[in-house]
């Protein structure tokens, strides 16, 4: 019972946060210096009035806000300001699968390899493999994606012709390799370091000592007894990891010419396309907040004590 009430509370908080983001973004946009049509120089006065009426810009601000919220509730993000006959919702519909595929693959790989490498480094503490892994992790975190991706494209695409440099081609695996690799490196590095530090600590716990004293083989002790407590810090990093991947996707999609929402966002920013940018920001924020709720659920699985302590 207590858990349900806790999650209900978290859910309401999440919705409130999202509402706050939408509201702030909306009012920021409407209050921006100059209207969205100031750069259009060729509109005669009545045509401009028409367009403004069509976009509802002649209404008082709070009515516009209400209409926007209403439209949002139906999944309607409004038309793009730049490309009048394209709706933002359409663009999101096209771009989301691409970005979601990239992001999910990158995050999945980061988790899988990050945890594995971190655990191995912890088991072989102070060995050459340990130091090598951790240095690699730092490199993955430090070297920016917009440096690495062109480099890799240069080496593997141009000098060696093994992989395509850009393009989506409906998600063919070859086109996914470089972008996903570059996208997964920063979170992989952090996850590896977190896992290593956490595993080292957990391996010194009394209950792990008991497990060893029972004559259980190393693999069983690590996987059954040590892994779940060791992953708690990694779970705490999941939401920032998603944020990192999202941020990285802006660059990766732009460089590699992948038609995801990241690329739309960047183009929208360069074009000053208000509704597009606003819509994308809302989509990203929703994802992130949803992820936060999922992680909270995950904590309860990792450590049963949490289920009761709330």
């Amino acid at each position: 019972m207590r858990t349900i009430r806790y999650f209900l509370g978290r859910f309401c908080g999440a919705v409130a946060t999202l509402l706050a983001i939408v509201t702030i973004s909306f009012f920021l946009m409407r209050l921006a210096p100059g209207g969205p049509f100031d750069e259009e120089q060729n509109l005669p006065a009545d045509a401009r009035a028409n367009v403004e009426a069509r976009y509802g810009l002649d209404q008082p601000l709070w009515i516009q806000y209400g209409r926007y919220l209403g439209a949002l509730a139906h999944g309607d993000f409004g038309p793009s300001f730049r490309y009048r006959d394209v709706s933002v919702t359409e663009l999101i519909g096209q771009g989301l699968p691409v970005s979601a595929t990239l992001g999910a693959l990158a995050l999945g790989l980061a988790l899988l390899f990050g945890v594995t490498l971190g655990t191995m480094a912890a088991l072989r503490q102070h060995s050459a493999a340990d130091y090598a892994t951790m240095t690699l992790a730092i490199a993955g975190i430090a070297i920016p994606s917009f440096v690495l991706l062109p480099f890799l494209g240069l080496v593997f695409g141009i000098y060696r012709h093994w992989l395509p440099v850009a393009g989506w081609e409906g998600g063919s695996p070859a086109h996914l390799v470089l972008p996903v690799f570059v996208l997964c490196l920063p979170p992989l590095g952090t996850i590896a370091r977190l896992t290593r530090a956490s595993m080292l600590e957990v391996l010194r716990s009394p209950f792990v000592r008991t497990a060893f004293a029972k004559g259980l083989p190393l693999g069983t002790v690590v996987m059954r007894h040590a892994m779940r407590p060791a992953l708690v810090p990694v779970a705490g990093f999941l939401v920032p990891a998603v944020a990192t991947v999202m941020t990285g996707s802006l660059v990766v999609e732009s460089i590699a010419g992948l038609p995801g929402i990241g690329r739309y966002l960047v183009q929208g920013a360069l074009n000053r396309d208000y509704t597009l940018v606003l819509g994308m920001v809302i989509v990203y924020s929703t994802f992130l907040i949803g992820m936060g709720l999922l992680v909270d659920l995950g904590y309860a699985w990792l450590d049963p004590r949490i289920r009761y302590l709330r």
Binding site: T210, A213, K214, L216, P229
Partner: protein
């Protein structure tokens, strides 16, 4: 229970345990030799830092990564100290088991009790999970845990401290070991629960006919159970004798002083009153002479220069002292 005549289950010879941190080497166990016979209960008493736990951690292969053990520890003929991990894993948890002192944290928090117990049998006896859990259930009954079916499905934090210790003891008995090492099994428990746990150990020892090593800093804990007692100070054995002998006539000044610190188990709990002043020596320091000399009321100048060697004084007794207490 008659001690000593049965064949030895654990033979430790000249065991030395050393820790390295950077360039500093700390020796916690210095040339300790002892024997545990099948069916015998051996009590090991000493202050914390005396090395009493380290001896057995070395034997069972659970020393910290920066520790080195030298000497010999033979368990029913198998040398344990340099044994490969596979050998160790075959022995520990099944024939040689150890119960640690803090039941609060000695059980894995995210696994059910049933799983943690059953995995011992699955691993060592090759049972199916279902059969193993049934055996675990039976064991929970043997260690007198009420409502065992429910407990089997619970997590460690849902059990009280005393119950957890019973589970740990039960877990160590699942494969009917030849030797059970109990390291401060009652220290973290309430006084009332302490008595119950010791009673349980006594009963189990008789039922399973196994050797037991009982480690404690408190004489009262080993009093009811031990056949023989070894007293340790600063990594060395200073006195050993049968329990009856030791309680009647302690010969080493440290033994006598330590005994006076122990509250009587049978009487109502009294606050601990120590007549033993000072601290055990720093394990990093080099000691000339007897380690106990600074705190000993019997000490002479000879004690500070010449370390007393451990010598046999009778059939089953040993003593390392220049000026033992009069009989």
């Amino acid at each position: 229970m008659a001690p000593g005549l049965a064949e030895p289950v654990l033979v430790i010879e000249e065991l030395k345990v050393e820790f390295r941190r950077g360039r500093v080497a700390t020796t916690t166990v210095r040339e300790v030799s002892l024997t545990v016979a099948l069916g015998e209960c051996l009590g090991i008493v000493g202050e914390s830092g005396s090395g009493k736990s380290q001896i057995f951690l070395a034997a069972i292969g659970l020393l910290a990564a920066n520790a080195r053990a030298s000497g010999s520890a033979r368990f029913i003929g198998t040398e344990l100290l340099s044994a490969p991990r596979a050998t160790l894993n075959a022995v520990r948890g099944s024939r040689l088991t150890m119960v640690f002192q803090d039941p609060q944290s000695a059980l894995t928090p995210h696994l059910k009790i049933g799983v943690q117990m059953a995995e011992v049998l699955v691993r060592h006896r090759g049972l199916s999970w279902r059969d193993a859990e049934a055996a675990a259930l039976a064991m929970l009954r043997r260690v007198k845990i009420a409502d065992p079916e429910r407990r089997l499905r619970q997590y460690p934090h849902e059990l009280s401290g005393g119950m957890r210790q019973r589970v740990l003891i039960g877990m160590s008995l699942l494969c009917e070991p030849d030797l059970l090492i109990a390291d401060e099994p009652t220290t973290a428990l309430d006084v009332t629960v302490q008595a119950q746990v010791l009673e349980l150990l006594c009963a189990m020892r008789q039922e399973f006919r196994m050797g037991v090593v009982l480690i404690s800093h408190d004489f009262a804990v080993v009093a009811g159970l031990a056949d023989r007692i070894i007293v340790m100070y600063a990594g060395r054995v200073v006195e050993s004798a049968t329990a009856a002998e030791l309680f009647a006539r302690p010969r080493h000044p440290y033994t006598a002083a330590l005994m006076q610190c122990a509250p009587d188990l049978a009487a109502a709990p009294t606050p601990r009153m120590s007549t033993l002043s000072g601290q055990p020596p720093d394990p990093d320091a080099r000691i000339d002479g007897c380690a106990f000399a600074p705190r000993c009321s019997n000490a002479s100048p000879r004690c500070r220069i010449e370390r007393p060697l451990l010598q046999s004084i009778g059939a089953a007794a040993q003593l390392a002292c220049h000026h033992p207490l009069p009989i």
